[in-house]
Structure formats: C-alpha cells, structure tokens
Symmetry: C2
Subunit: 304 residues, 2 copies
C-alpha cells in the first residue's frame, strides 16, 4: 500500500467537513472573526517519548493529547490539526490502530484533521500541529503572573511518571499507566481560566520545572507548600511517600495545568488545588512544614 | 546543549515579531480579516527524501521550499510556520547550518517561524507546517479544471530529478543540482493565478503524475503535446533527448506549478508554457507529433 492509498484509507475521514479537506495541496479553513490563532507542534519519537511496546492506538491518542494540552494552557479552543507521520515500515494494521487512537482524542474535543504527510523512516516519528482559536487578546501566557497570585494545579500530578515507570518494569496499574498512555488535556479548564488566570503553563516536564519556566517568563518567584501538592490515592498506594513526592514534583507527562490567579477569581472552579503564592523574589522555594525542601529542578528529559 | 538551549540559540530569532513567538506553550497570531487559511505540512526524511551527504543548510532550505510550493499551488500568501525537527544527535554546527538554510528560504517570502519542537531520534526527520492566507473563496484547488482550459506549467521541468541523479553519481552541475537542493516555490506566480486559473497543483511527484491527480480531482482528462513541455538547456546539454523527456515527464521534485486556465486569462503572465488542453474524456493522453506516447505514470516514489 503506497502513501496515497494509506492516506486515503485511514486519514481522509474528515475530508467532507466544510471548506477543509485532506487531498488538495493544502487545506482551506475559515477563521472565526474576533479570534486570534494559537498554533502548537509536538513530536513523539518511538524509544524516546514512548516505549516501543505500547499500542499504536495509544501512540495516536497521546500524540494528539500532548498538543491539545498546549492549546489548553493558552486558554484556546482547538479547531484543526495536521499530521506528519514517519513509519519504519508500512504495516497496515499499525496505521489503522494509530488512526483510531488519534481520532478518539481529536473527537473528544471536535478537532478536525485537515492535512498530513506520511513518510518512511527508521523509526516511528509523529508530529502533530494543532491550531486553536482564542478571543482577541485573551490568550493565557506564561509571562502574566503577578505578585500575590495564588499558584494552582489541576487534577493530580506524578501519576504519569509513576505509570511510565511501572510500564517499563512490566508491571501494571490501570489508573497510573493510563495516565501516561492517555493523558487528559485540560481544555475545559483552560477555557474557564480565560480572563481569570494571569499566567498558565501545562505540566509536561514536571511541576517544579514547568512552574519555574512560568516564573522565569514572568520575572517573579514563588513559594509552594509541597504538602498541598495534589497526588492521587493510586500513587500513594503504590509508592512510598518520598518516591510519590518525587514523582509529583519532578515527574513529567501529566499534562495538567499550572496557573497563577487571584484566589477569589477562580473560587468557583472545581478540580484545582492551591499550592502556593507568587513572590517578588525570583526563584521557586519549596517548603514542607515550614522547612525548605531541595527538589531536583532539572526537569524531565524523556524516559531514556 | 539541551533542547531548550538549542531552540533558544538557533530558532528564537523571530520571537520579537508582534504577537507571535517561540517560547510560550503556543504561538498567537492574528488572521487577516477577509481571508481564509491554507495549511500544509510536509516531511523530509534523511535517506528517503534527500541523500545523507547534502549540507544541513540545503536540508533546511528545501524543507521550507517544498511546503511553500504547496502554498503557492493554492494561490495563498505564506505567513507562519512551525518546525518539528528530529535529530540523530545534537550536533550544534549542523543545527546552526540547518537554521541558516531554513531562514534563508523563509526570509525570501516573509514567513515567520512561530513555534517548534526539537527531539532526538535515529535519523534526521524534518516536518514543517506552513499557514498561508488567501482571499475568502479564492483558493486554487485541483478540482476546478474546465473542458477547453489550456494546461500550463511554470518554468522548466525535469531539472531536479536530473540534478538528484547527478548528485547520487557524485557528479556536479550547478544549475541542475541546485534545482534539486534549493527549489523555487512559485509563490508570486501562484498569487497571479488567483481569479484566473481554474485548477492548480505543484509538481512534486512528476508532471504526468501530478497533472493526472489534478485531472482526476476535476473528473476530466487532457491531451498534452510532449514537444511543448519546457525543458532547460542545462538538461538537454547533459542528457540525451529520451532521458531528458523521461525526467521532464516523470521526474519529481521540480516544485513548478501545473495549472489549467482559459488561455486568454493568463496571456499577460510571463514564465508559463502551454502544453495541452483539458478534455471531457478522463485520462491523460501524451502525444508527440500526433502519435501517442506511453509515459510511466507511476509517479515519483522518493529516491531510494
């Protein structure tokens, strides 16, 4: 099956959507008046971002979800995506399974595949470009934090890194492994933060590493209380306190959001946890019961 | 040098442009009112789309140019691009050279790099997503050809395939090899065709293969006179007539445009050559001195 046939069979599902389509030299889309566009691109490489033994459907799902997470962190609504898929060979079943996972993630948020390129290479490389829309001037940036803001995170952190470790050890835990394989992009929460949060980032490299980037972009610092960092019962049931905390602070791949906002502006929003306060002094200080805790802030560097 | 440093040093040049920037979770861009967007994505894989021995600058230039060619075929004006770069290792000089070539191609047409992702893998894989803009409803499609239209091509065809063959044989010809390494996206011509041409495609897989796709999308056929197909004097000086014609009809990588239009609508446009006529009978008939010529229409399948 050649490239054209591969694309026609597995990726042309969305071609009927109005004014877009896989199949011409490019796709044509109509922007919504009054919006700006947010574009993100993220790549997953087999053996670097995911182990070779996960299913093609999980690869497809994850490749979309990590991009949607960036769109969520900007407060935007995802609209369109393009796919660049490099395969080590053209195994039809793999591609079909990949497409199913990819469309599952896209369908959850109404994202339409408008174009793509399928090529042959030495290993699987998946790049997805997602275009979102956000009201003029309303995009959430990393640089908007203000002194006195409360620092929040969504959901729980550390699960995905723990799940990846289990996966690599050949062990299983449905919740933790699922958090790595099929991360949830916090799109609804991101949209709720527009006009309320001052700064936001998604947690791909670890809470401390990503919050540090947000603070650096804002030219500010923060104090966080590590006892307030939300962790799942699945994480604490499986790992000792010290390991669980290490995953929560330094583990990547959670794709939760970290943001800063005046506490009262987001009081009505569920699913978020206050973990600290933005300060004028640069740098991030982690405290536990008042004592400063040293955290490895080198950030996540993929699993290999 | 890690990913963050790599991006900061070589790819953040455009970060100062108004309302766009490498460095947040996504880039924010403002669409031009009254336009639709055209998005394209194309991937170059080392050893598949280019030999491993070409310079990084040529890889960077070519990766942009092949995408701009798709934008040209749609009649659009390119605005923004995102880059997904997978490297077999992090050779700083290679990346610097790559960036220089990439920006050279982008600068020729005012395209701004707004985001990217750099990853490690087993070989070089370059995916670029380009967003262009075109007046509402004016995009050139493959499907608009009309019976009686004249079939045109821009520039000359066959040069790039001949150049690639020379490159692989270790021979040199500045013009022919240059046509492969640094193709010219016909953006100005594409813009001139808006409102005049009925259908257009860029020639990446070969004139006969790509014209056949345009005709299939339009549900029509064409007769072309192969004696009218424009070939360069460099091509005919280096190869015998039969080989030159084979390159011209079947060789890929030229990135010229093939389009159909009423002859008088484009009479004032320079740099185009009429090669045939659109017919109601489906299929493409190639004639030479009135005799039907058999052409291998399998299309270009990359150089390996």
């Amino acid at each position: 099956m050649d490239e054209f046939e591969l694309i026609r069979r597995f990726f042309s599902r969305d071609a009927q959507a109005t004014d877009v389509g896989v199949g011409d030299d490019g796709a044509v889309m109509t922007p919504t008046p009054g919006t700006q566009q947010v574009q993100v691109i993220d790549t997953l490489v087999e053996g670097v971002h995911f182990p070779a033994n996960i299913t093609a459907a999980d690869v497809g799902y994850r490749a979309v979800a990590v991009n949607l997470s960036d769109i969520a962190a900007m407060g935007a609504r995802p609209r369109w995506m393009t796919l660049a898929l490099t395969l080590w060979d053209k195994d039809e079943l793999w591609v079909e399974d990949f497409a199913a996972g990819m469309f599952a993630a896209a369908d959850e948020h109404g994202v339409v595949l408008v174009g793509g390129d399928t090529t042959r290479g030495d290993s699987v490389v998946v790049s997805i470009n997602v275009t979102g829309e956000v009201e003029d001037g309303a995009a959430l940036l990393r640089s908007g934090a203000k002194v006195g803001d409360t620092v929040f995170v969504t959901g729980t952190v550390g699960d995905a890194a723990a799940g990846l470790e289990l996966l690599q050890q050949g062990e299983h835990d449905e919740f933790l492994v699922g958090r790595f394989l099929r991360p949830t992009a916090r799109l609804a929460l991101g949209r709720m933060l527009v006009g309320k949060a001052h700064a936001a980032i998604d947690i791909s490299d670890g809470l401390v590493a990503d919050l540090s980037k947000l603070l650096a972009a804002s030219g500010l610092g923060a104090q966080i209380n590590v006892e307030n960092v939300p962790v799942s019962s699945a994480l604490t049931a499986r790992f000792d306190d010290k390991t669980a905390l290490q995953f929560a602070l330094s583990g990547g791949d959670d794709y939760e959001l970290c943001f800063t906002a005046p506490a009262d502006a987001v009081a009505a929003i569920d699913g978020i946890t206050a973990i600290g306060t933005v300060t004028a002094d640069e740098g991030l200080e982690c405290r536990r019961g008042g004592e400063i805790v040293d955290v490895d802030v080198s950030g996540y560097r993929h699993f290999t």
